[in-house]
Symmetry: C2
Subunit: 770 residues, 2 copies
């Protein structure tokens, strides 16, 4: 892969530590130290302002701005850009001593340390500032976003003068004037702006989309001489003085609350009225209690989600960071929330959630927070109207799910992706199936799932076509998960996923038909037996390109005859290819960007023999350049299953510390959220060897040679399955004592509260690579 | 095709006549009555202003404006929009009687007639205007663009009061303030603006591209009280009075001159200085003499270009209109001129010339104006630097010619066209070959042609690739002339044209090698024998998808297996498909937009057997929706050869009167110039059965049942071959008496000054369709 770690943060099992500040890493650190609570997210920028490189980003899930593009207006081509818009800087603080303003880009300082505590979600930064007049003050900045009260967060700033008595002059408040960097301008119009007593409040709405946000903050602490300051239409400020007495600490804290409304039709006045109702909660909130509540949330979370790795501190930190970020980004708080490709940590990918949510992110929630998994699927249910509209725009019936979206509408402006990639739709179907297979939530499938499935099938039945020559059904002019084969026929993944979608939908409907109480429901969906027969026919006759002799699935029609390119011989300077190769040049050889056939084999693992997986892994992996950050994990997972243990570990390392070690050199733009989700899968499905596509969970745990042990846990109903894998044996039990039947190394095994110790079979030991 | 004629203009062998004015046809008529002289063109808008629908367009060949687009910046994707920009309204006139301004949108008028005389290129419009006060004046507007003095044109306005004595108040001058309609704004900055004596002058430059234009006009006639008028920065105006005495006619005329400079670097002052040198010619010019000179040019042109059809007045008018427009658009005046897709008659297609210039337009000039044909090719020679740049942008060596251009750079913003269509490059190679084959201009090939050929071959040798499976060479990720198969492998046309390009280039170089004097030339091109061997290998092993059993060439790999669509069953309301179908929907079945395999068979006619042509015609024509206006002619030509005489005539009618009868309902946007060129081919290559891809010209004339006779002429060296075809026989001779050997119905025949009369062989009679 030719990618290397940029090791910068200190290794610690529970903390991300930056010891000393490196301006070159300023923006990477902003991403790494991002806080989020699903509802809102804030990058780790400096509270006090900074004149060096920075991306001051503060985002609210689902709050976006729009822009009409000058692109062609052919039918089905999206020509609005929709992006999660940079919102309010609620940490705004300016600090002065003797008229000198603190700015770490030019200030004299020492003992800089920044620590994100993964256990509690609290971010602390401290350093000693030495003013030009030689005054030294130790400053500590603390912040958190409440996981318990999703609209709230807190900031506390402590100061201790080391060699003088005096004052810290403070300006603090709310700033709605920051630009959205990639569009180069601020997109907010101010509705109202107040600063009085110890409170600031500002309400604003986006210029085009008319999304409305109100932010309030309240200061408490040791300050004096508090007074409002006029600072501009979009800034609400208070000024005050924090007295400094040599050796002793003074401090102030703020509680903030953000409320938002994404209904264009709601008038600003109405929004302000509605928001006023929540003001009491905000006024009653208290810093320490709010923080304690949030810490408790994290404590509970870790109790059910922690993964421990003994003997590998680096990856221990990496995987905990991934788990932490997953919960920060999303935990099912709100059915309008999405998991953006960069979570709430940057502008890149416009805050859009991509087609792979159900394939890459859903599993994490399925086994850590099933309610959140359901919420993710409910987002798709609630956006059925938009998916139906999209299907119409693409001359299809039913529902066509967007390849990228914030609010359910297709937001991807590149027609070659948004019109040709069907994997969002089949991904939703897969997600429904996977969720129901694991949770047995029959109510969900009957009430919500079936409607999505039927609409997806209708799309598949109108988007596909029959070959003139073979009489087989399949999809023409599509792009599979590997985006390097742009416009192909009979992409194996697409066809296979469609086949599974048809089959599952027919099964679901037949099950419902057998029960009288669903008659009305089915009537509403107006699926008749003729439609079911048609789908069955399509599923049965689905073209799955496959070479019987070699056991290799052909990624798409004609893939085997494409010119060959030896990806190892592409000079490393030509990566990423999108920046160095002519756009069209990428799309005409047998090089692939990310798993496609292998992705299918991962998702429907039980449908393929080990031999097939081996042959296809050996064929496709050498052709893959892993240009997508999603690629290594899936390869690692399959490599574990195929006993390619060296490969498995190599790919794992990359995924787990992708952002901490800035492998792709673009962490500054935000975190790779979907890859973070994949890193979790990499432990559970990879080394843990779990498969969740059968009737019961199955496991083939292996352990990297490098580790002493690792353990992970899986929520199962009301209980938690705990597995610890050591080099020669594994230990497994349920935490609450329920009996769970799983398949362990192909043998059905009942697990209960008492720890079962199983010797790892010889062939699953990792010492010897096959 | 489901397209019908909108018959509006009167039929006349030499004139286009509009009897009475229909506002619904206002913009169509503006296009139809466009004048051009290659250097500049002006739509047939009303001199006196008009408040109804109009597109006031006045263009200068090669003068364009640019705009940066917000599209993706992937390598090789063009994100500048370049468009021939609307320039100066040099006909600007406003007429008032008693303070009432003439505006045909609201005025009371009668006896409106507008006549374009194809014989002379003079446009006349007249009507009687009745003012609100009951005064009646007969007005006649005349205009022409000089074919002799390409920078000049004239306007004459005559007035005759029918029932009163009084005055016509006139404002007349130059207007640079008109918007470019599709971008919604005027793109000129004024450099200088003068109005004094009887002259107006205005110089301006485009805002972005810094192209500079100066326009001058001078008024003479019966006017009185002439004085300059302040009318705005970009308008230069004089006011005067034309006395009206009942029954007698008064008039005024203007001579105008336009000069331009497309060098960004030339400063406005320098441009004005350079232009001043030409002022004397302008001041010396006189209306009647200028007009007479232009009329004479047309007379000479018609003597060598006329086509006569006896027994079909409608198509007689149609074909003459086509010939007229071809000469107006281009006649080789300037090697910077291009043949825009709409000529100089509208904004559509941005004034860009497309890939098909050498295949569709070149033949007309080859046999009517060989110097113009050479100039067309010289445009490609002069733009080799841009084509080399483009090749680099597309990761190729050599030269990649643009799919659409004004100045040699690629101007097409749709990567799927500009990066995937290789037919501009192979088209240039074809044009060189065709030109040399017909003219035997060895000097051209040795001096210019070979360099283009070598660079095109280098591109083809780096853009293509070898199949892993078959070991054959060919092109991956391409779009052939049929733009409905967007991104395919082994497009038969592309591969075949590349093969011919390699072969011809090798032949040319080997011929040059045999002559000592070219040693230096070849050294400069640095083609060594290894490179030639490589090209020969690629040519020899070129994949040409072909089914031996059916004799059908497969348009691209996999075409035969695509889903079938019965194009006749597509409701007529769904056309044009680009407006009614989802963009991606168009590209995934066996429907085609325009000839692809058949195009190849037309261009290299001698390479295919009649049986092959028949089988392929029968296969592809029913799959073709002729969405391109270029499609019917090629089908008509092949249909004639294949004795599908009904088809031939049906397709011919459409092509020849496409604009006059507004078949595509978009003539308002401008004329379909390339289709106009194809209409000429339709007579010569279609009914005339001429083929110019052999050693000598061959003919298999047929005649539509509907006609008494038709005749056409072909420039051959210094002579003209004249052929008249009647129902049973044809007459043929050379005008100047040279002896020319041609193949006539497959028999070599020497033609001289004496008319040879040949009976049309039974099998080439059109009475019976096969």
């Amino acid at each position: 892969m030719g990618k290397s770690a940029d090791t910068y943060y200190c290794v610690d099992p529970w903390k991300i530590i930056e010891n000393g500040f490196s301006p070159e890493h300023a923006m990477v650190s902003e991403s790494i130290f991002s806080l989020g609570n699903e509802y809102t997210g804030v990058r780790g920028y400096f509270d006090e302002g900074y004149s060096g490189d920075r991306l001051l980003g503060s985002y609210i899930n689902g709050v976006f701005e729009e822009k009409k593009l000058e692109t062609s207006s052919y039918k089905g081509i999206v020509n609005t850009m929709t992006y999660m818009v940079n919102a309010v800087d609620w940490l705004y603080t300016r600090l002065q001593i003797d008229g000198e303003e603190l700015d770490l880009n030019i200030a004299d300082y020492r003992s800089f340390v920044r620590i994100l505590d993964l256990k509690t979600g609290v971010l602390i930064r401290s350093f000693v500032w030495r003013t030009k007049t030689g005054k030294e003050v130790e400053l500590t900045f603390e912040r958190f976003l409440s996981m318990e009260e999703p609209h709230m967060g807190g900031q506390r700033i402590r100061a201790r003068a080391l060699n003088f008595n005096g004052n810290l002059q403070v300006l603090a408040g709310l700033d709605f004037s920051q630009p959205h960097k990639s569009v180069g301008e601020n997109r907010w119009d101010c509705i109202s702006n107040k600063a009085e007593g110890n409170c600031c409040e500002i309400a604003a709405q986006t210029k085009q989309s008319k999304h409305k946000v109100i932010c309030q903050c309240r200061f408490l602490g040791d300050m004096e001489q508090m007074a409002p300051v006029q600072a501009g239409e979009k800034i609400s400020l208070l000024s005050f003085t924090l007295p400094l007495n040599q050796g002793s600490q003074t401090q102030f804290s703020r509680i903030m609350q953000i409320l938002s409304c994404t209904e264009k039709a709601v008038a600003p006045e109405k929004f302000e009225r509605l928001s006023a109702a929540k003001k009491d909660t905000f006024l009653a909130a208290e810093y320490d209690a709010l923080k304690a509540g949030s810490c408790k949330w994290w404590e509970q979370m870790w109790r059910r989600s922690d993964i421990q790795i003994e003997g590998d501190a680096v990856n221990q930190q990496g995987i905990r960071y991934c788990i932490f970020q997953m919960h920060q980004t999303y935990h099912g708080e709100n059915s309008k929330s999405v998991i953006g490709a960069k979570g709430l940590t940057g502008e890149a990918y416009s805050g859009n959630t991509f087609w792979d949510t159900e394939t890459y992110c859903l599993p994490f929630y399925l086994f850590n927070n099933p309610q959140a998994a359901k919420k993710l699927l409910m987002f798709r249910y609630h956006s059925l109207p938009q998916a139906r509209e999209r299907a119409k725009a693409l001359d299809c019936e039913g529902a066509f799910y967007p390849i990228a979206t914030i609010d359910g509408r297709e937001c991807c402006n590149l027609w070659q992706h948004s019109s040709l990639q069907l994997q969002a739709s089949t991904g939703v179907a897969y997600g429904i199936w996977h969720y129901v297979n694991v949770t047995k939530d029959e109510d969900f499938i009957d009430t919500y799932g079936v409607e999505m499935l039927v609409e997806i099938c209708r799309m598949l039945a109108t988007r596909g076509d029959w070959s003139q020559k073979t009489g087989k059904y399949g999809f023409y002019g599509v792009m599979g998960p590997d985006e390097f084969q742009m416009m192909v026929n009979h992409n194996c993944y697409t066809n296979f996923m469609a086949k599974k979608t048809f089959e599952y939908t027919i099964l679901v409907i037949n099950n419902m038909k057998a029960t009288q109480k669903f008659a009305d429901r089915l009537k509403i969906l107006s699926v008749d037996s003729q439609e079911l027969l048609k789908w069955a026919d399509m599923a049965r006759n689905m073209e799955i390109p496959y070479d019987e002799d070699t056991r290799i699935f052909e990624q798409c029609e004609g893939f085997f005859t494409l010119p060959h390119i030896d990806v190892d011989k592409i000079p490393v300077t030509e990566f990423p290819l999108y920046s160095h190769w002519s756009y069209d040049h990428i799309y005409r050889n047998d090089m692939i960007k990310q798993p496609d056939v292998l992705m299918m084999m991962f998702l429907y693992n039980a449908c393929f023999t080990t031999e097939q997986k081996l042959k296809n892994y050996d064929y496709y992996e050498p052709r893959c350049i892993h240009e997508s950050s999603l690629s290594p994990s899936v390869h690692s997972i399959l490599a574990s299953e195929l006993k390619r243990h060296e490969d498995a570990y190599r790919f794992f390392e990359f995924a787990t510390r992708l952002d901490l070690d800035n492998y792709n050199r673009n962490t500054s733009e935000g975190l790779h959220t979907t890859s973070i989700a994949a890193a979790w899968m990499n432990i559970i499905y990879g080394f843990g060897g779990m498969r969740s596509d059968g009737d019961i969970l199955s496991f083939h745990p292996t352990i990297p040679k490098q580790w002493r042990s690792y353990s992970f846990q899986i929520l199962l109903g009301d209980d938690t399955l705990f597995i610890k894998v050591e080099q020669e044996k594994l230990r497994i039990h349920t935490k609450n004592g329920s009996k769970q039947t799983i398949s362990l190394y192909d043998r059905n095994t009942v697990i209960g509260q008492e720890e079962v110790v199983v010797k790892i079979p010889e062939q699953w030991r990792t010492a010897i690579d096959e």
